[in-house]
């Protein structure tokens, strides 16, 4: 009878358990959505994604984010501001704090037809600038920029200047640069609101640059109260992309997806308080933006 070699047996067992643990570890990662390799089901999904992208005339120029921890609705209120204080801040930044604020003229609210609904607007003129605000809280600043300054600057310089300008406005301190997109006769530099490291796409600043000079700044800001109690899993980015492609209407032009990110988005409501869902934002190279609800997979229009 041979004597059992415990040392060898241990080595065999160590190797066996090591292999088993490696397998279990990857299987677990796969289930949690961190998998670096595709299982049979995912291979089919990837193939389907490629076909759907091809059919839609789109290419994916960014990585799809991996699944994230459960999230909850974000609770927001419209940002209530005093136009006079807003104008004072704007004037200080535009013309310098030493320059005395001229007389503010307020135009009687006028109604403009927008999307078939009557919209109430209040217009304030101060110096060469004008601030127009509506009931929902959207504000548009039209300001004069010295013509001679514009001639010497390129788009990058304006981009830099816009960032400095937005950064210097205290009421827009939660805004970060997002992207730049072409307009028919110019460029638009887009900033987005942020809350606890989550992008809040519902809050925005659009700086429109025409003929090499910024002319219009449109902004909409929200007061974030926090998150709802109940957290939910978000749908994987691949599922969101498939849902987007199901609803995407192809046109002749070939386009590419340049950004795929998770944040919060909702309409501008004329409401007191509302909950905002997490969304997958899909941005195309031509500036088109689509939002897919990260809970339901439905497009957020």
């Amino acid at each position: 009878m041979k004597k059992m070699n415990f040392s060898r047996a241990k080595t065999v067992l160590i190797c066996t358990f090591l292999i088993l643990n490696i397998f279990l570890f990857f299987q677990l990662r796969q289930n949690r959505g961190y998998g670096g390799f595709a299982s049979f089901g995912q291979k089919e999904e990837l193939t389907r994604l490629e076909i759907e992208l091809q059919n839609a005339g789109l290419t994916l120029e960014t990585d799809l984010p991996k699944s994230l921890a459960p999230v909850a609705y974000m609770i927001v209120e419209p940002w209530i501001y005093n136009p006079q204080e807003l104008i004072f801040s704007l004037w200080s930044v535009l013309e310098g704090p030493e320059e005395p604020l001229p007389l503010i003229t307020m135009f009687v609210s006028r109604n403009d037809e927008k999307e078939g609904e009557k919209e109430e607007l209040s217009s304030y003129s101060f110096g060469k600038h004008e601030l127009v605000v509506n009931r929902k809280g959207t504000a548009v600043l039209r300001f004069a920029f010295p013509e001679e300054d514009a001639k010497e600057k390129n788009t990058e310089a304006f981009d830099q200047e816009a960032r400095q300008f937005i950064g210097s406005l205290p009421f827009l301190k939660n805004f970060v640069p997002d992207f730049t997109r072409p307009l028919e006769k110019g460029t638009e530099i887009v900033f987005r609101q942020e809350y606890e490291n989550y992008p809040l796409y519902a809050g925005y600043v659009y700086v429109s640059v025409f003929k090499k000079k910024p002319e219009i700044i449109q902004f909409y800001c929200l007061d974030v109260l926090g998150f709802a109690e109940q957290k939910r899993e978000v749908i994987p980015s691949s599922t969101a992309l498939l849902r987007f492609l199901e609803n995407y209407e192809r046109n002749r032009q070939e386009k590419s997806i340049v950004e795929f990110s998770l944040g919060y988005y909702s309409h501008e409501y004329d409401a007191e308080r509302w909950e905002i869902p997490p969304v997958w934002r899909i941005r195309l190279n031509n500036g088109e933006i689509y939002f897919i609800n990260a809970f339901t997979g439905n497009p957020e229009i």
């Binding site: 570890f25 089901g41 339901t296």
Partner: protein
């Protein structure tokens, strides 16, 4: 030493494998493979039976000998009793008892009957709701006539086709005559043309006392004769201002012969469990995000459908994604789905009846109204409306009230003739030179908001003239409400 390290590593690996196996076994399944949770509909009220979905709009008892017509309407005790009796008779129909008849045969059958009771269905009743075996007839009944004879009932069903049949009475029915009304509610049928004297109406707003209106002996005109009923003013010396009003639905407009008695009523908004209601529409409440609007309304949406609950209690739901160019849903299926959905989305409510069904391109529109003592509750979106197709409910509105009490003693309505004069005067002022066509006149309760947020309903005459919005006239003053 090496053996000790090996033992330690082995123990660690064994423990790690146990932990990883536990994580795999009990951990959350991958999202893509997640199982869809199963939801069950939670009904606010038990789903109603098929025979409860459609009820007659009017029950008309006709007695040939006395030339009397008695009309019973929804919400009246006698209506409820008569419909119960009538339904029990209709349920005994079989395919063998019914045979198809022509218009002439129907006329011959009805010519000599001394009395008959007609159940008028403004919303046609699929006969299969009462007798499933008659589904092959595909008959949507618009009028069911029951004629009690000595030992049996003669039944005539009118829809697209006409059928007649006899069923035997049981002993109780032979002895008790339960199918006949036990109280009276005399009505007359309006003639084809009414000539009204509008002197003193509308223009000076101080409505004159009841003008005497002489009706010709042929008030109940028969056939297509255009029997004109001259209605002249009394001897107040006022100049006559005659105006003709044509009746569109010849032989179908009934007005009470005796004084109508009613009192104002106090109502209370129905108390619906708001959370259950939201759950009924969204299943998973966490999927519905909440928007508190400036007017106090609360809006729930999941991006595809929206539910708005107004501060005064009105509920409005829309699901535009379910809209279709045309619906494939059948009429009877729409009725069933609609009734089931009403049970889920707030429930059936005492005193509500299906009042109207309209087929639209995107689906069927169903309207339920509340009735009290024979009068429908009108105004301020009172009642419930639903648009439904094969995919589900596209639109739903619910605004129902509980009746608390009557205020004060019952008083008589101003005569219908005065209401007609007042409405015709309004019409004449709005459309000078046009000849009015009367579409309908009926007594109703009109919803209004009294002080301190209480809701009140005032009796009123509802008069509908072609081309003009339905007008509601206060029962005492005849001022428009």
């Amino acid at each position: 030493m090496l053996e000790k390290i090996k033992s330690g590593v082995l123990i660690f690996l064994i423990l790690l494998s146990l932990i990883l196996t536990y994580g795999l076994w009990f951990g959350a399944p991958p999202l893509e493979e997640g199982i869809m949770p199963r939801y069950e509909y939670a009904y606010f009220t038990d789903p109603c039976s098929l025979e409860e979905i459609v009820t007659p709009s009017d029950i008309i008892y006709f007695q040939e000998e006395k030339k009397e017509k008695h009309v019973f309407r929804r919400g009246e005790d006698e209506y409820i009793r008569l419909w119960k009796e009538g339904a029990s008779v209709l349920k005994r129909l079989t395919e063998q008892t019914l045979s198809r008849i022509s218009d002439d045969e129907e006329e011959a059958l009805l010519e000599t009957v001394p009395l008959k009771i007609s159940f008028i269905f403004s919303t046609p009743l699929p006969i299969a709701f009462f007798v499933p075996e008659l589904v092959s007839l595909a008959l949507d009944v618009q009028r069911a006539v029951i004629i009690p004879e000595e030992h049996y009932y003669l039944i005539i069903l009118e829809g697209k086709d006409k059928f007649a049949g006899r069923i035997f009475m049981n002993l109780d029915e032979q002895l008790l005559d339960n199918i006949l009304p036990q109280s009276s509610n005399s009505h007359i049928c309006l003639p084809d043309v009414l000539t009204l004297n509008l002197a003193g109406y509308f223009l000076n707003e101080d409505v004159s006392p009841a003008d005497e209106m002489k009706e010709s002996a042929t008030a109940e005109s028969k056939g297509n004769d255009k029997a004109s009923v001259p209605l002249s003013s009394n001897n107040t010396g006022e100049k006559e201002l005659l105006y003709s009003l044509e009746i569109k639905k010849k032989g179908e407009l009934f007005v009470p012969l005796e004084d109508l008695q009613a009192a104002e009523i106090i109502l209370k908004k129905e108390n619906v469990d708001r959370e259950q209601l939201v759950r009924a529409f969204f299943f998973d409440l966490s999927m519905a995000r909440r928007i508190e609007e400036r007017d106090g309304a609360v809006f729930f949406t999941d991006g595809e459908k929206g539910l708005r609950i107004y501060p005064e209690g009105l509920v409005e739901y829309t699901a535009p994604k379910l809209e279709r160019v045309s619906t494939t849903l059948s009429y009877s299926a729409a009725l069933q789905k609609g009734a089931e959905s009403l049970g889920i989305y707030g429930g059936w409510f005492p005193g509500i009846y299906l009042a109207r069904v309209e087929k639209q391109n995107e689906g069927y529109q169903l309207f339920w109204k509340m009735y009290y003592d024979g009068f429908p509750l009108e105004g301020k979106s009172a009642g419930s409306e639903m648009t439904i197709n094969e995919l589900g409910v596209l639109f739903y509105q619910r605004n129902l009230y509980q009746i608390i009490e009557e205020v004060g003693d019952k008083k008589a309505f101003r005569p219908y003739k005065e209401a007609l004069c007042q409405a015709a005067a309004f019409y004449r002022a709005s459309f000078p030179g046009n000849e009015g066509v009367l579409l309908g006149i009926r007594p109703v309760y009109y919803l209004s908001f009294a002080s301190k947020g209480t809701v009140k309903a005032t009796p009123a005459w509802s008069v509908s003239i072609d081309g003009m919005d339905e007008i509601y006239l206060h029962w005492q003053t005849l001022n428009p409400l």
